[in-house]
Symmetry: C2
Subunit: 234 residues, 2 copies
């Protein structure tokens, strides 16, 4: 054991993994989770005093967390009135799908340059969804579908794109909470996802993009119909 002495150099880089985080960030993470899971309904008002008491943090720290989530469009800040859980409307759905068409279709079309692992990650998401279907786990199917699209964005291999996708998909979760989408919503898309993945695995990225575009058209139409249904009831 006289040792080469440089075993320490072979340790994996930890990057920012063990970065201590501020209270504001932890609070933001918590709130984000609650919003995505629907614990905090869209449109709900977040009282600084009550949430501060609940989480045992000061108002100042809480406000920092609010700024973070406001920038992610999960909260809307109305001056002198407070912060509310965002409540996306039909226009937001249209916009979200414009973004998705731009980013995801671009990612797929340039998929030929992506490393094999990136494509494999998409396949993993497909299988994750299929396993969830076998269990009858509708929640799991939805999660797997999100993972599928996050993996599609991952084809670009860009941290910034990854971050954008995370945000966009989080907003999309909010859309579902607004219109109380049926839990089976994603089920029909499982087979389509597999088809898209198979095309990519075979190197037919352009065809895959066309398939994906078709999915966007149908899904957007379906969501918008649900929204106009809601509008009529107001």
């Amino acid at each position: 054991m006289t040792a080469t002495g440089d075993w320490i150099d072979n340790l994996p880089d930890v990057g920012g993994e063990l970065e201590r985080s501020s209270t504001a960030e932890r609070v933001a993470d918590l709130l984000r989770g609650h919003i995505i899971d629907g614990v905090l309904a869209p449109g709900a008002r977040l009282s600084e005093e009550r949430i501060g008491k609940k989480f045992r943090v000061s108002r100042n720290t809480l406000r920092e967390a609010f700024r973070l989530l406001g920038h992610e469009r999960l909260l809307v800040h109305e001056f002198n009135r407070g912060v509310f859980v965002a409540k996306p409307d039909a226009a937001d759905v249209v916009d979200l799908f414009r973004v998705r068409r731009t980013v995801e279709l671009g990612a797929v079309r340039a998929g030929g340059d992506a490393p094999p692992e990136a494509v494999a990650a998409i396949g993993a998401a497909v299988e994750q969804g299929e396993r969830a279907r076998e269990r009858g786990d509708w929640e799991g199917i939805g999660t797997a579908n999100m993972a599928f699209h996050r993996a599609v964005g991952g084809l670009v291999g860009s941290p910034r794109i990854d971050e954008m996708m995370r945000q966009i998909l989080a907003e999309l979760r909010l859309v579902f909470h607004v219109m109380a989408a049926p839990r089976e919503f994603y089920e029909p898309y499982l087979d389509r996802n597999r088809a898209i993945y198979e095309l990519m695995a075979a190197g037919a990225f352009d065809t895959a993009a066309e398939e994906l575009a078709g999915y966007f058209d149908i899904a957007e139409r379906q969501l918008l119909d649900a929204f106009t249904g809601l509008a009529r009831r107001d």
Copy 2:
């Protein structure tokens, strides 16, 4: 004038135009401007106490502003050490161009669906740049080039994409400050911008996209070379 009574319904929506803004947002705007203009050099540390004194705002308010700009990647927040003006490196340049290829090329390829005004805005940016060249106004050429690419992103017609482009281009300004780019950097691209615009005006969006892709390749290469030059001097 017994009146129909519902003229008020015909009033244009004011949207958020007369939204009052918080101090934190105004401070963030100020700092953002200083960062983009290079008044605050990349890597510079922003002391809470000194900046707070300078702007006459409390530390708490200042920290809210810092959170905003941190989320825009213009500031980096190191726990217990402070906030610094972001200092993009070569990896950031690569990533920024990945994003630009995804977003801008996607925008151009789908340009056929964009309204004529959106295309016209691109032409306006081209002419703005050419006028700046006639004046020998290098600063103006750079600004016009930014406007050009912002207008390209505008083809999508999505507020979220517009916001992304604003952020990406702001980061790109930081890249220029890091490597002290020559003021004539953008000049050679003026003619290429016009060519790309003419193609789009003629409806040849796919060809325009190919041209734009060529621009990205050259510009990225040029920036990366400048960076490796810097690295050698360290």
